[in-house]
Amino acid sequence: MSVDINPVRPELSLGVTRSRRRFPVLIILCLIFTALVVFCAIFGSLVAPHDPNEQDLLNTLQQPSWDHLFGTDTLGRDIFSRVIVGARTAVAGPLVIALGAMLIGNTLGVFAGYRGGRADFVIMRFCDLMFALPALLVAIVVVGVLGGGYWLAVTLLMILTIPYDARLIRGSVLEQRPRPYVEAVRVLGLKPRQIMVGQVWPNVLPVVVANTFLNFAFSLVTLSGLSYLGLGAGPGTADWGRMISDNRNLLFQNPVAALGPAFVLVATATTVNLLGDWLYERLSDRGRAR
């Protein structure tokens, strides 16, 4: 009998070539930088050389020196310390936005994609509504009218990011749904929730993770934009966007005052973007359903 089923001899079957690609140098640098930023966000006030809020009216508008690496601003505050502490508002808000949008957007997207029908329709109309409006403009209008504030901006941006995530995940789920492996477990009799969570979602994961990183970078930039316009972080807060705006007029005197925070902002956004792109490539290669 065993002859008839032609049993498979393992020696004859395919080996799997797992490409052990080492971490590229660039990615390692990105990870280090990001870790640094996160560290500053948590422990900033301990690490900063000067008190970021301490005003020294005798030493205003100083040029960069060893004591004040970025110089001082119009109120004599050390800009370098403010940049370090500013990491907090730069990380906290976008993190909440990215994770919140991921959780809610994912749930909505998986639901809409797998269930289809009415739920899908309703969720998609809701998303269409959101798509019609550029996030920043809505934020400006709403936040401005309601009186500004950091966490208000964060909440609003999160709500505005959800539809993008939802649509992305829905697309991925729709791509997986007709695949035979999903249909096979349906026929086996697995419950829809089991299928959504246990079967489909793990295959959608690379997209989710990468997208969350990109969302973080985007939120960081948008949030800073709001602060730049005076609508996000309150006046006096050590926030990168705010600082760039405050110190804009100092370009002729001490350009580092504005360019310092600007550079750090761009660097953070870039590293997170790079990490997101790299993660996507890496995770997609692990043989996820294509």
């Binding site: 403009l137 009218v145 005076g230 804009r248 761009v266 870039t270 792109d277």
Partner: protein, 304 residues
């Protein structure tokens, strides 16, 4: 259309959500007095039910009357008209730069995939994507207006020539991020198109390279890029605000920010409505263009 209605409703409701008394908001900076309050109440129909107020407002808007600014007292439509010129100029200028550089570099990168040029372009685009318009603006200001005086640091300029010069820096600042996005999209789309069987078949038949690139790859790759262009417009509008503030340009963006800061609710409402309408229009235009480019949509999908 329905969408626009819903959005306009939302915009109108803002008035009510604003903290503080409605009358106070409408008063703005003026001194209050019973006559003024009474006049405001009747002018803005504050004694009527909410929906009626909304309806009246909407009707007025459709006739081009968006009310009066609570700060300056001038008609909002007037303010919008005055400020629109700069923004439109800026927007178009930026759009041209975005499309030109984004698409051409994207195609170049795709065609020379994995070469040094490609990697350079992609690397540049990653950084560009991470640079918000205001940062780019500041950097450009610094480099090209402060360090060297090639470009003026602020103001929109008079006349076409002068305006072109004045608005170059802001337009580039605005365009940079968008160009990077367009580049990414074009490159990905082009790479995918070049990978297709019909491109290989065209080459197997000995067709000239340029024709293969153009008719076979590019025109097919364009379709997803065009669909995304409505999104590009939305981002351009967003960036315009930041850029105008940075460069002190009296455009719609500055108007918006000022109005918001001054709690000039009617102006904000009016502007928001105009923006929403513009975005809708852009979406519509994109759909039409998409239909034009892809015969499958035009004729309805045929055989599977």
């Amino acid at each position: 259309m329905l969408l626009l209605l819903v959005i306009s409703f939302g915009i109108f409701s803002l008035l009510y959500l604003a903290p503080g008394d409605i009358v106070q908001s409408l008063l703005g900076a003026r001194q209050s007095s019973p006559e003024l309050i009474a006049q405001l109440r009747s002018q803005y129909h504050l004694d009527d039910p909410f929906l009626t107020q909304y309806w009246i407002w909407l009707q007025n808007a459709l006739h081009g009357d968006l009310g009066h600014s609570t700060v300056t007292g001038l008609p909002v439509t007037q303010a919008i008209k005055d400020h629109a010129g700069v923004t439109v100029f800026l927007g178009l200028y930026a759009f041209v730069i975005t499309t030109f550089f984004g698409v051409s570099l994207g195609v170049a990168a795709a065609v020379r995939k994995r070469s040094a040029a490609d990697r350079g372009i992609v690397g540049f685009s990653v950084i560009a994507v991470s640079m918000p318009a205001f940062v780019t603006g500041i950097v450009l200001l610094y480099l090209l207006a402060v360090r060297v005086s090639w470009f003026p640091a602020f103001g929109p300029g008079e006349g076409f020539q002068d305006r072109l010069v004045h608005l170059t820096l802001p337009a580039v600042a605005l365009a940079l991020t968008q160009a990077a996005l367009v580049l990414k999209l074009t490159r990905a789309s082009m790479i995918e198109a070049l990978d297709q069987d019909y491109v290989a078949f065209a080459r197997a038949r000995g067709l000239a390279t340029w024709r293969v690139l153009w008719t076979y790859a590019f025109r097919n790759a364009l379709i997803p890029v065009v669909t995304a262009s409505a999104l590009i417009l939305a981002y351009l509008l967003t960036g315009a605000v930041l850029v105008e503030v940075t460069f002190a340009l009296p455009g719609l963006g500055s108007l918006l920010v000022d109005s918001v800061n001054q709690k000039d609710v009617t102006t904000v409402q009016g502007l928001a409505l105009v923006v929403a309408a513009t975005v809708m229009l852009a979406n519509l235009l994109t759909d039409v263009l998409y239909m034009f480019l892809d015969p499958r949509i035009r004729l309805g999908t045929g055989a599977s």
